[in-house]
């Protein structure tokens, strides 16, 4: 079976199990909503402050929500040892990673798009005119978070103190993605919006490099 067909079958499984349990999406949506609402009432930011601090706050909320979402990604495959069943069934273990990171990116993107109108209203930041560009940044940023996070989730799931290990490894590793995504978002939410192409280029390179590393070494991460 080709890599893409296996990935397709596994992605279907990931989406089906999540939409039945709603375990990851509920946690993530509630977390981001709380952060955004809480900060808007605490700071009561002005129009200018919102444009300056909003993007950083938004990506910080996304990052912490992602770390909550990524934790059970491989952990729940251990409940019934289903990861072993997958390893025995797929011809290319990279399909397992592709399906998981695909599902994580979709879940994260879905949450971000759900939270964008709330952010725009509470922080008084117009987002409609740059919606297409924002979608691109959200996608590239979320993909980077998901690629690195899925790999680290596979490592931490087999370790002791796994709840501590994932954020400990994930947060420093994702700092460059967070900085680049925030920079691009600051430009897009400016009074005269502009696209920070250098940041976009960095996100593309980060995604390609980490995806290649996962393709090369992913199989070893799944071994017992």
């Amino acid at each position: 079976m080709s890599l893409l067909s296996s990935t397709n079958v596994l992605l279907g499984k990931e989406l089906r199990t999540e939409f039945r349990s709603r375990e990851l999406l509920t946690t993530t949506v509630v977390f981001i909503l709380m952060v955004i609402v809480l900060f808007s009432f605490t700071f009561d930011p002005t129009y200018t402050e919102s444009r300056r601090f909003g993007p950083g706050l938004l990506w910080l909320a996304f990052l912490f929500a992602a770390s909550l979402m990524l934790q059970p990604c491989f952990l729940r495959e251990q409940n019934n040892d289903t990861l072993s069943a997958l390893r025995l069934s797929v011809s290319d273990p990279f399909a397992i990673f592709l399906a998981k990171l695909g599902a994580n990116t979709l879940f994260l993107l879905f949450t971000e798009l759900l939270m964008l109108p709330v952010f725009a209203i509470l922080y008084n930041v117009p987002v409609l005119r740059v919606f297409g560009q924002l979608l691109l940044v959200f996608f590239l940023g979320s993909l980077g978070v998901s690629i690195a996070g899925t790999a680290l989730s596979a490592i931490s799931a087999q370790a002791r103190m796994r709840e501590l290990l994932l954020p400990l490894l994930l947060l420093p590793l994702l700092t460059p993605v967070l900085v680049a995504s925030t920079q691009v978002t600051v430009g897009l939410l400016d009074a005269s919006p502009f696209m920070e192409w250098k940041g976009v280029g960095f996100l593309v390179i980060f995604d390609v490099v980490f995806l290649t590393a996962l393709w090369l070494f992913g199989e070893y991460l799944l071994e017992e």
Binding site: M1, K13, N80, T82, L88, S89
Partner: protein, 242 residues
């Protein structure tokens, strides 16, 4: 239950060792199972049975040694499931855990694995197996609503999906009621007679252990007994926990 491409395949363990840090789980394991043989593994908890089965399935890489799967004259020899992904098709594995998803139905679980394994005519194959394990009426129920025994039936069906020529079973009767154990014994007998090679870990004597034509006893990761003699086989299995 065997697939059209089914060839009796044996298993050869050549000086297998497995260490977890300072702990040696398996030491110099060297034996061969002939194609179509039914072998029971006995031994106390922690003697290395599960590790040996997981190494045979290609889920755990041995620290030293090699496993090969010599085929009968009709089939080609397979290096190892870990070394060649295609070789995974030869083995079906039932573990302590059920290895199925609680949030999927019995049918969805089997269809998922059938599609990943490229089982021909997957829906028909899944329907047939669900009828065999007695879960056809509950095929659309989520696995999380099943009892342990019913989950074990799904697990057994999953292992048989692709018509494996080798079955690796780690305490396969876990959770099964007496009817379930009888059904499983009948199924394994049928598979053994069709030439399927079976390696299973067991505790004590049961309907399933009576199928074994050979018994191995592991103690602290070493094979301490290996016999094909009928009464000795019974003796090893009966006193496995002694």
């Amino acid at each position: 239950m065997t697939s059209p491409g089914f060839y009796p395949t044996g298993i050869r363990f050549e000086n297998i060792e497995k260490r977890y840090g300072g702990l040696a789980a398996l030491r110099r394991i060297r034996f061969e199972i002939s194609p179509g043989e039914c072998v029971a593994l006995a031994g106390r908890n922690g003697s290395g049975k599960t590790t040996l089965l997981r190494i045979a399935a290609g889920l755990v890489r041995p620290s030293a040694g090699e496993i090969t799967f010599p085929a009968s004259s009709r089939g080609a020899s397979i290096p190892s499931p870990a070394a060649r992904p295609g070789a995974k098709a030869a083995a079906g594995f039932v573990s302590h855990a059920t290895m199925v998803y609680d949030e999927l139905t019995a049918e969805e679980n089997l269809l998922l694995f059938a599609r990943l394994q490229q089982t021909p005519d997957a829906p028909a194959r899944v329907d047939k197996l669900l009828r065999e394990v007695g879960l056809f009426e509950r095929r659309t129920s989520l696995v999380r609503t099943f009892s342990r025994g019913m989950r074990q039936r799904v697990a057994i069906a999953r292992a048989l999906l692709h018509g494996p020529s080798i079955l690796l079973l780690d305490e396969p009767s876990t959770g099964l009621d007496p009817q379930g154990v009888s059904w499983l014994a009948g199924k394994l007998c049928q598979l053994r007679d069709a030439g399927c090679t079976i390696l299973m870990s067991l505790h004590g004597e049961s309907e399933i252990s009576r199928l074994a034509t050979r018994a191995l006893r592991l103690d602290a990761g070493i094979i301490v007994a290996d016999t094909r003699n009928g009464s000795e086989v019974r003796s090893i299995l009966t006193f496995a926990d002694a």
